[in-house]
């Protein structure tokens, strides 16, 4: 349990499976005054309203949570058309000692799974079974990444649902509508869904 200001703690885990096991269990037993539970790649952030749930009681509750197993949830299967025209495609290929065609082939032949949401509405952190597309983030985040930009960062691939600042390496772009508040659910990518990318001109 790591300190995180006046009204939050951050819990560290070794694997994404552990994160999801803890998150599922905690989500079922939310106490009054718990404001938010945000799973990450190796963490769960818990925030509270200290007037209702003081920080000490938040910590005590988190210690009582017993993680539950990761029952496989069969999610939707989604195809997304991508123009592989990203500004960082050459940088990514160099980092991976591959050609840009290799990068595109790896990205389009891998099956990706939405691990968790976050960063922005409609953004899904996509993971795959191999580590051949693992690249670092950019040294300095861009102040503006366009909507539909397809990127890589760490073990993840993802798509910017809307223009925003961002530090991911951009490899392509898509017209897919990632977030639509009038749609139910508003997010195209929901945890458990699988994604295949298709290269289009």
């Amino acid at each position: 349990m790591l300190p995180n200001g006046d009204s939050a703690v951050l819990l560290d885990f070794d694997t994404l499976d552990e994160v999801l096991g803890f998150y599922r269990a905690a989500d079922r037993t939310r106490p009054a005054g718990l404001v938010d539970l945000v799973p990450g790649a190796r963490t769960v952030l818990a925030t509270c309203d200290p007037r209702v749930l003081p920080l000490r009681q938040l910590r005590e509750w988190l210690e009582t949570v017993v993680p539950v197993g990761s029952e496989a949830v069969a999610g939707a299967s989604i195809g997304i058309d991508v123009r592989y025209d990203g500004e960082d495609l050459d940088v990514v290929a160099n980092l991976l000692k591959l050609t840009t065609d290799d990068v595109i082939e790896l990205h389009t032949t891998s099956t990706w799974t939405v691990a968790f949401g976050g960063f922005a509405p409609g953004f899904g952190y996509l993971v795959t079974e191999h580590a051949r597309l693992v690249v670092p983030r950019r040294a300095s985040p861009r102040t503006l990444v366009p909507a539909g930009a397809v990127g890589l960062a760490g073990e993840f691939s993802g798509i910017y649902p809307r223009a925003s600042p961002g530090g991911w390496q951009l490899i392509g772009s898509t017209d897919a509508r990632l977030w639509d508040p009038s749609r139910e659910p508003p997010a195209l990518l929901t945890p458990g869904a699988t994604v295949r990318f298709r290269a289009v001109p």
């Binding site: 945000v38 976050g118 985040p141 960062a153 760490g154 997010a187």
Partner: protein, 286 residues
């Protein structure tokens, strides 16, 4: 009842207390950056403290009442004319139908709040009327000529000569900070360096975060931080070593380590610092 915006100034947004609790969907909390100022503007005109008001960056704005309205200006400090006469700050005043409020550019502070008796009545999204500039949730930024509906108030206008509200600092601003979850990702001297500052607010700052310029903070680990949930007030440090102080529209997760977290009670001060102004962090709890 309604209000016409003739000139929104550099950026005029509808804000209330935001939509906290949706971080797992990637939805930022958003809401007024200077919450005490928003709440005061509402209370002065007899609204619920959580009603929607206008957050006006810097000022230089003009609005016209299309029906008699009670208004209150809080937040930044400067001068305003209501129907051609000086309007008070931090106090309720009345605008007759057809009269305009001219809000001059602020002398200090960065964000005004204009409370309107009855509250700004625009459709909400996910429980809030706030404009979230990162995700695009909520109403669009107010544009010249927009007519904004005003709701019904339930309480009395607070008649006062002016509330003794804190005024934004003109000079260096002190913010208290406690160690963040990834302090151990930084070199031994980094915590002291954060506290010694001073840090200058960059012109790139916005509702997502205050970008800071100064002596870069040194990290002891240069590997990637797996993306993790972040709180408002986090001091996130990208590889440049220059911290970004996350404000209400910050992304719910981030991939750079957080060295410290600014006290919630000091965040309203951070909402009012201008580009070029100096910040100093006062370390606590280590």
């Amino acid at each position: 009842m309604s209000l016409r915006v003739d000139n929104p100034g550099p950026l005029m947004l509808v804000q209330d207390l935001g939509r906290p609790g949706l971080g797992s969907l990637g939805v930022p909390a958003s809401g007024a950056l200077d919450r005490p100022a928003l709440e005061a503007a509402n209370l002065l005109v007899g609204n619920d403290r959580a009603d929607a008001a206008l957050e006006i960056l810097l000022g230089g704005a003009r609005v016209t009442a299309l029906a008699p309205l009670w208004l209150a200006i809080t937040g930044a400090a400067g001068s305003a004319l209501a129907g051609g006469h000086p309007a008070p700050l931090n106090a309720a005043f009345r605008l007759e139908a057809g009269e305009s409020l001219d809000l001059a550019p602020a002398e200090y502070g960065l964000r005004y709040y204009l409370g309107v008796r009855g509250g700004i009545d625009v459709p909400g999204v996910l429980g809030s009327r706030s404009t979230d500039t990162l995700s695009g949730l909520g109403p669009a930024a107010v544009a010249p000529g927009d007519v904004l509906a005003v709701g019904e108030a339930t309480r009395q206008v607070l008649l006062s000569e002016g509330l003794p509200l804190p005024v934004p600092a003109r000079g260096e601003v002190d913010l208290r900070v406690t160690p963040g979850p990834r302090l151990d990702w930084f070199a031994p001297g980094a915590w002291a360096a954060l506290g010694s500052g001073p840090w200058t607010v960059s012109a790139d700052s916005n509702r997502v975060g205050v970008r800071l310029e100064g002596t870069p903070l040194e990290r002891s680990r240069n590997d990637e931080l797996p993306s993790e949930g972040m709180v408002t007030g986090s001091l996130q440090v990208p590889p440049s070593g220059l911290p970004i102080l996350f404000l209400a529209d910050h992304p719910t997760t981030g991939g750079y380590p957080v060295i410290g977290v600014v006290a919630e009670t000091d965040l309203p001060l951070a909402a009012q610092v201008r580009p070029g102004q100096s910040l100093r962090f006062l370390p606590r709890g280590r």
